[in-house]
Amino acid sequence: METILEVNEVSRKFGGLVAVNGVSFTVKKGEILSVIGPNGAGKSTLFKLISSFMPTSSGNVTFRKERISGLAPHIVARKGVVRTFQETTIFRNMTVRETVIVAHHLRSRANLVGYYFGTHLARKDEREFGESADEILAFLNLTAMAHEQASNLPHGHLRALGIAMGLATNPVILLLDEPFAGMNHEETMRAVEMVRSLRDNRGLTVLLVEHDMPAVMKISDRIVVLNFGQKIAEGTPQEIQQNPAVIEAYLGTADESIGI
């Protein structure tokens, strides 16, 4: 399998705090890789560095051998590295369907002038975005809520909407920050199946941060563990479950819910 994303000695400092400290790993095409670690370990910051929402203090990230750190976030998204947000970040005053249609931005073939004057290509785009949005919504069980204001959605559905937006951009790598938060066990298992089927059917590469350990163990091909900004372990779910450093890190935070 070819390596698609390389994280090389990436660090990020906030004043005196080193949130991410010399982290390196690689991601292969079609892989589902989870980043786990206690609260404040630097997982979200790492995602922001990869998607270029934040400049690195040192180190760099390459995507298909091309350096992407330092580029504007929308350029990185255009190349196919798309993130979703940890918080429920949505367009409050749009309906669910409208949101997903807007999220098709990267697929547009017509330019803005074309959209303004409604050229043939622009109208074709709009039609296709509508159809594709309906497909995505159906895939994520959001069809019934298509015309609901996004701000009226219950929490679990908001996460699904976040994933829907990510999918609409047609990404090569999707970075999901705690996609299962706020879902119950059943919903989580459905979402896990869904992410796997995305990988199997569309060849999507998925990077995800998640605290729900059963879900992480079920979904991941490989896991990277962060603690205080440093990578302390990397390996298959089985290896990680038996890694003493990982157990130490989690017990050190007295986090009972990890279920390792």
């Binding site: 798309v82 949505i90 367009f91 807007v102 622009a122 019934a144 015309h147």
Partner: protein, 375 residues
């Protein structure tokens, strides 16, 4: 036109109540803009002039002038509304109006160019100004953006005062000619403006430009660009994660706004026959913002409605003499308290509910907001 597929599985709150009505209105948009345009044209070009013609001749000029002003101000306010649409509070439109007015006046008087050409020229010049100003300041948001734009009008005035070679300084440019006729292949396309008829002709001109402005704005808001602007207004970071080029998408609406300001300024220069450093002041800039608030930020006709209400109110209040501003301010405060989201936020559905509620002396039962379904 987009038709949403009808889904028989839609839960009950989505079907069979009044919220369907508002969705129907939204979905059937492509037919009513045309009806609306035709209706507006008939009103502005036949009904109102007809009405004015029935007045005393010495009063007609003034009424035409007042309507013309409403048109000009609403064009500028439309621009301000567009910057609100990308989530920016713009209190600097007066500066662009001033620039537009001066460009039109200077080009006419010094370079002897036809008035008709100076209107688009002023707009284009203001777009260039908009790029130079907007590029650095559009990354600011909220009060920071508002404060900087607030300064712009004063800066524009100072620039005018300090370059008397071009602008004539504090004396202004007072010898702007009336627009001449334009003929093409022997046909008179645009009539000559004379001392007798110019009030009426300027009324037609500015109303025409106003209608064009709102048609253009309507298209913008209902095209994909409008959706992108709305996404910017609500969450810029999320928009950029979806690949939206923030710099470009902030700059385009801002430049369109500047264009509208410039055109409004050029029209004002023509209407008033002279320009001075204080034909557009900070107060005008603030007023444009108030017009938008009054009409409502949620609807693109908000600035138009707001301008009509506030400007007409202002004109009527001249009867109050010295207390004009006082009464105006009180009325403004009361209106803002009653309808904080502007006139256009009053939905017929909700008013209907209120009325039903009052008549039946009970709480309204129709729901516009569908139930929150917790799973």
């Amino acid at each position: 036109m987009e038709r949403f597929p009808s889904n028989p599985n839609l839960p009950s709150p989505q079907r069979g109540n009044l919220s369907n009505l508002s969705r129907f209105v939204q979905e059937s948009r492509p037919t009513w803009p045309w009806l609306g345009t035709v209706f507006a044209l008939i009103l502005l070009f036949f009904v109102i002039p007809d009405f004015i013609a029935s007045m005393r001749p010495e009063k007609q000029g003034l009424i035409y002038y007042q309507f013309t002003q409403i048109a000009l101000l609403s064009i500028a306010a439309a621009g301000v509304w567009l910057t609100f649409y990308i989530g920016r509070i713009n209190i600097g439109q007066g500066a662009l109006c001033l620039v537009g007015a001066y460009v039109s006046a200077i080009v006419q008087v010094k370079l002897d160019v036809s008035y008709w050409l100076t209107i688009p020229l002023a707009g284009i010049f203001c777009v260039l100004v908009g790029i130079v100003i907007g590029w650095p300041i559009l990354r600011l948001r909220g009060v920071y953006f508002a404060m900087i734009t607030l300064i712009l009008t004063e800066v524009a005035k100072l620039v005018v005062l300090n370059f008397p070679i071009v602008t004539n300084g504090a004396r202004g440019i007072t010898n702007i000619p009336l627009p001449e006729a334009v003929t093409l292949f022997g046909f008179t396309i645009l009539p000559e403006f004379t001392a007798d008829n110019n009030r009426m002709y300027f009324y037609f001109l500015s109303m025409f430009v106003m209608v064009l402005t709102f048609i253009a704005l309507f298209r913008l808001v209902h095209s994909r660009i409008g959706r992108l602007c709305k996404s910017l207004q609500q969450n810029e970071e999320l928009a950029s994660s979806l690949g939206v080029n923030l710099v470009l998408l902030r700059l385009i609406p801002f430049c369109i706004s500047c264009f509208m300001g410039g055109v409004a300024g050029a029209l004002a220069a023509g209407v008033q026959h002279n320009v001075g450093p204080s034909i557009f002041t900070v107060q005008d800039s603030v007023n444009y913002m108030l017009y938008c608030f009054m009409g409502g930020l949620g609807n693109l006709f908000g600035p138009l409605v707001g301008t009509v209400i506030l400007r007409m109110g202002w004109n009527y209040l001249t009867a109050a003499g010295d207390y004009q501003l006082l009464f105006y301010a009180i009325a403004l405060i009361i209106l803002m308290l009653i309808i904080p989201n502007g006139v256009m936020s009053l939905s017929p559905v909700r008013i209907y509910q209120r009325v039903v509620g009052w008549l039946g002396n009970r709480r309204p039962t129709l729901n516009t907001v569908p139930h929150n379904r917790k799973s």
